[in-house]
């Protein structure tokens, strides 16, 4: 199990790097899909099968489809590196290093040890998630759905303004 966990993790990290390094937006988007699927694999290994499948359906299957379609419709070509300003050239790398160091510190300090992770804990099934969502977290859950509804209505109003 642990080996698979590292394999999925490696795939996720390499694909994530590819998202940034690729010049072509379609390749970047496809790499992002690979990242999402690899993370879904990690969820699956932790017995959170519901979250894994929802991750694929919602992020890889719905949101990223929209991204890819928009890129296709805009016919976005290869990105040409812009003449970088002096500030980004001198500050970019140190800022990135600082950010990574901070992340590493937080993970090192607060994340649970790998020995505490149990492979078998059945917390990610549909029943368990449903209980949590509709008992303890029912208010945030409903508020979020309301927010999404408002966003959808806003999008429709903006898109159909001229009708």
């Amino acid at each position: 199990m642990a080996i698979l966990f590292y394999i999925f993790g490696a795939v996720a990290i390499i694909a994530a790097l590819n998202v940034v390094l690729q010049r072509h937006p379609v390749y970047s988007a496809l790499s992002l899909i690979v990242v999402l699927c690899a993370i879904a694999g990690e969820y699956l290994l932790l017995n959170a099968e519901f979250i894994a499948v929802i991750q694929v359906i919602v992020y890889a299957g719905a949101i990223m489809v929209l991204f890819v379609l928009v890129i296709m419709l805009l016919n976005a070509g290869e990105e040409v590196p812009s003449s970088r300003s002096r500030v980004t050239r001198w500050l970019g790398a140190p800022l990135l290093a600082a950010f990574l160091a901070e992340m590493l510190y937080v993970i090192w300090r607060y994340a649970p040890m790998i020995t505490n992770v149990t492979w078998e804990s059945p917390f990610g099934g549909p029943k368990a998630i449903g209980r949590l969502l509709f008992n303890i977290y029912v208010l945030p859950f409903e508020l979020t759905s309301l927010l999404i509804l408002v966003a959808i209505l806003g999008a429709v109003v903006l898109a159909k303004k001229q009708l």
Partner: protein, 344 residues
């Protein structure tokens, strides 16, 4: 020691099951094309394939050989990597969803229970939806990477259609999930067995919405606008030839089979049917009933193609969003009201 032999048994049994299912599925897909040509021909008072083998029964083989030997053309301006990736993606994803489909009940072998299903996921139904939702990429990328006008238009239409009807497809089965209380396909069939009633009786509207959306999802007549020959040449796969075209072709037919399997499991009791006779009949008859029901759906698909004209594109979209989606939502509302009323 026992645990090791258990694992070994599981691995071997699963490998055998995968092999059998894959071979059977490939044969079904090949002969589905023969059946389609034959049935359409008879609907139109023709004979259909007749030369290769008796009643043209070897026609799929001849088609396969032809696909193998055709020249494989890649357009000059195509994005080669994605152009190659798209058919493989569609093909793989189409075959992936068959993994959670239960074909029959279990039987005892060497003191262990073997289920006629490759694997039973707790979220089997969602797994199928996840795989089909990824199938859109194959079509979208095929059209885009060909770098040609007609495939691009075809793939845009196709993707928009699949995204729109996926919603209704998922909404239509929520009723079934609510009454059977599980996302596992095996549990859904066992629920119908326990209650002695197929879900179609309780969810007739759910079934109608499901099957309509399923036909659109698989890009078939009367919703086959992505491939409308008269306006789009061939749709998203216009530039594809040889084996790559065959892969799209097989993916489409496999999706038809998957959708028919799901319809059988969710609404028509899966493998349930009259079972009698000795032990081996007890195992084989459920599989027979399952295949017979799936065959009815596949025949219905072909029958529709021989009967109905094609929709217009705007009609298709407004039908999906303004009729199918509200009806699906209403079905969920009414179902949940009835469930609450009967419990309370």
């Amino acid at each position: 020691m026992t645990t090791f032999s258990d694992t070994a048994f599981l691995v071997v049994a699963t490998l055998v099951k995968i092999t059998i299912v894959l071979v059977a599925l490939l044969t079904v897909v090949a002969y589905l094309s023969w059946l389609e040509r034959k049935v359409i021909a008879h609907i139109q008072s023709r004979w259909g394939p007749y030369r290769v083998g008796p009643h043209g029964l070897l026609q799929p083989l001849a088609d396969g050989i032809k696909f193998l030997f055709k020249e494989d053309i890649v357009p000059l301006e195509a994005d080669r990597l994605i152009y190659l990736l798209a058919p493989f993606l569609g093909f793989t994803l189409a075959f992936l969803s068959i993994a959670v489909i239960p074909f029959g009940t279990s039987f005892q072998l060497l003191g262990r229970t073997v289920w006629l299903q490759i694997t039973n996921l707790d979220v089997g139904l969602l797994f199928v939806f996840a795989v089909t939702s990824l199938g859109v990429y194959s079509i979208a990328l095929a059209g885009w990477s060909s770098n040609s006008k007609y495939p691009l238009f075809g793939s845009l239409r196709s993707s928009a259609q699949m995204i729109s009807y996926e919603l209704s497809l998922a909404l239509a089965v929520i009723g079934v999930i609510m009454i059977s209380g599980s996302l596992s396909l095996r549990d859904i069939v066992e629920y119908q067995q326990a209650h002695g009633l197929w879900n179609i009786v309780k969810q007739p509207i759910g079934f109608l919405v499901y099957f309509t959306a399923a036909i659109a999802e698989t890009n078939r007549v009367p919703f086959d606008l992505p491939e409308g020959e008269t306006e789009l040449v061939g749709g998203f796969h216009t530039e594809y030839s040889s084996l790559k075209f065959a892969m799209f072709f097989m993916a489409e037919y496999t999706n038809m089979v998957t959708v028919s399997c799901l319809a059988t499991i969710l609404f028509f009791g899966g493998w349930l049917g009259p079972v009698f006779g000795p032990a081996w009949m007890q195992v084989l008859l459920p599989v027979f009933w399952f295949c017979a029901k799936v065959f009815c759906f596949l025949f219905f698909y072909i029958w529709m193609r021989g009967t109905l004209p094609r929709f217009r594109y705007d009609q298709l979209m407004s039908f999906g969003w303004k009729v199918l989606l509200p009806v699906g939502l209403l079905n969920i509302l009414v179902t949940s009201l009835i469930i609450t009323w009967r419990q309370g």
